[in-house]
């Protein structure tokens, strides 16, 4: 039997895996890493991240939202972004790294990838700062300022990456940046190529040049039209790929260059009235349609959790069942 890591490599390199990769099993995400860009507050609370963005998780909701009313919005005018946007320091006191280093030292790197997490990503941060509508329009109406802002965020990300690499020497990067809705990319491929491709070539290139072997990018959305750019920027695995992307087709077309992780939409299975039967149907459909290579079955959720208790584990059970049926 292959180790978890060997099985992952056989899967993404088109070799001979002996089972399906089971969701996040190959990643040991070092959540203790100093991360001022906190993913989100707890349910019913709000936080202000170090870029000044208020992120609120309203009671009864399944996720958090940046707050963009007049009182809270950070970036009030893209043409004056320098006045409003101040990147946080990446120089953390050494004691902030202690817990993360201890966690790293406990990981068996033969089995799992020591993984660092970055969220939100470059695109997400632009709209966290100024709202989605203003952020999207800025690509067209104020392209120069948008280029400058993206360069500024990218420089910050690289300085942060340097600190993480120096302290933790991660093997993998798990990087969030949602690039689309469920049915389309937010921006056109041409706009993406002009603004975000150069930024991510720098960021992912930096991680890879400094010992990070695996780049996993999370975008639980449609983004099939951006896959060539994902490959160009160095993504090894696209996590969160929704079924609206026609994943079997993507695997056929690009599988040798990038692996697709998902094809099970969280919205369909991770519900208050979830059932093992519905999860089984969705997992079986994904595994049969997408096959054994260049594919990792999993919910589109961007971490090893589910919105409703038991769903994540139920998916694992069904992936095991599909391994028995197909391997």
């Amino acid at each position: 039997m292959l180790s978890i890591k060997q099985n992952l490599l056989e899967t993404i390199q088109g070799g001979n895996p002996d089972r399906f990769v089971k969701q996040y099993e190959f990643l040991d995400i070092i959540m203790e890493t100093p991360m001022e860009l906190a993913l989100c507050p707890g349910p019913g609370t709000e936080i202000v991240n170090s870029w000044g963005v208020t992120v609120r998780w309203p009671k009864g909701q399944i996720g958090s939202f940046p707050v963009h009313d007049a009182e809270h919005i950070v970036l009030k005018d893209i043409t004056e972004w320098r006045k409003y946007v101040k990147a946080p320091s990446v120089d953390y006191p050494e004691e902030r790294w202690t817990a993360a280093i201890e966690h790293v030292n406990s990981v068996d790197r033969n089995e799992k990838y020591v993984t660092t997490l970055v969220a939100p990503g470059v695109f997400e941060l632009t709209h966290y700062l100024m709202s989605m509508e203003e952020g999207l329009m800025a690509f067209y109406e104020e392209p120069e300022a948008m280029h400058e802002l993206i360069d500024y965020i990218t420089d910050w990300e690289i300085r942060y990456a340097k600190q993480v690499i120096d302290h933790l020497h991660p093997d993998a990067l798990f990087h969030h940046d949602d690039w689309g809705s469920q049915i389309s990319s937010f921006i056109s491929p041409a706009t993406f190529e002009e603004f975000l491709l150069p930024a991510y070539k720098k960021i992912y290139g930096f991680y890879k040049a400094n010992g990070v072997e695996l780049i996993i990018h999370h975008s639980d959305s449609y983004a099939a039209n951006l896959v060539p750019f994902m490959i160009e920027m160095g993504i090894d695995i696209w996590q969160g790929v929704m079924s609206t992307n026609n994943v079997p087709e993507l695997i056929k077309k690009y599988g040798k260059q990038i692996t697709f992780w998902g094809d099970i939409d969280s919205g369909k299975i991770d519900t208050p009235d979830w059932s093992q039967e519905v999860i089984a149907q969705n997992v079986e459909h994904a595994c049969r349609e997408c096959g054994k290579l260049y594919f990792i079955p999993g919910a589109s959720q961007g971490l090893n959790i589910s919105s409703f208790p038991g769903v994540y584990e139920a998916i694992d059970v069904e992936i095991d069942n599909m391994t028995k049926k197909m391997f």
Partner: protein, 208 residues
């Protein structure tokens, strides 16, 4: 290119900084306000179709709608009191428990561009609030309910059925990622649209 054609092209290209001057020039050149408005509505219809076809993306639609809105600002004083252009009032909101507003905002813009007077109730709108808004506003011809989450589909159903119970003849249109035409029909909605461009087309059809 005539002034009116210029206005049309500027809306389609989303040139919001140039539109006000172009509309004013068209008026100064003798073009009728109604004709200019019709040209802009036609542009937005093209934009909606291109979005539905996947030829353009959300930002292009946003800047086109913003341009039209700025153009309409110039026309407003000229057309003050003329309500013959309105297709009626549309009440719109994202249903209870759901805080997603981007898709809803896009639909508001597209319906406004198509000629509806929009009353945007925002997000997390209780079913009764849709009913109250129909009572509180004049000439309401359409209620539009949006829902993005699978978990808020029951709230979508409740919104549609509450509106229909209070106003059996009121047209109701629904949309949002998890909504299908079948589900829309099942919960008693009159129309469904998969995206903002189609929503404008469907809304006009429903009130024709």
């Amino acid at each position: 290119m005539s002034k009116i054609e210029e206005v049309k092209a500027l809306v389609e290209a989303g040139k919001s900084k140039k539109i006000a001057a172009a509309v004013q020039e068209a008026l100064d050149a003798g073009d009728k306000a109604q004709d200019i408005l019709d040209a802009m509505v036609a542009s937005m219809s093209v934009v909606g179709d291109k979005f539905s076809a996947g030829e353009i993306f959300v930002p292009e639609m946003l800047i086109a709608a913003k341009s039209m809105s700025k153009g309409v600002e110039v026309l407003k004083p000229v057309m003050a009191g003329d309500t013959s252009n309105s297709l009626g009032t549309c009440i719109m909101g994202t249903v209870a428990g759901d805080l997603h507003d981007i898709g809803k905002n896009l639909v508001v813009m597209m319906l406004e561009s198509a000629g509806f007077d929009m009353v945007d109730l925002g997000v997390d709108v209780a079913a009764e609030k849709f009913v109250q808004a129909v009572k509180d506003n004049d000439n309401v011809v359409l209620v539009a309910c949006s829902g993005l989450l699978t978990t808020t589909m029951p709230a979508l159903k409740e919104a549609v059925q509450t509106v229909k119970a209070a106003f059996p003849d009121m047209k109701v249109i629904v949309g949002g990622a998890p909504v299908t035409p079948e589900y829309a029909a099942e919960i008693g909605a009159d129309g469904y649209a998969p995206d903002a461009g189609s929503a404008a087309v469907k809304a006009k059809e429903l009130v024709a």
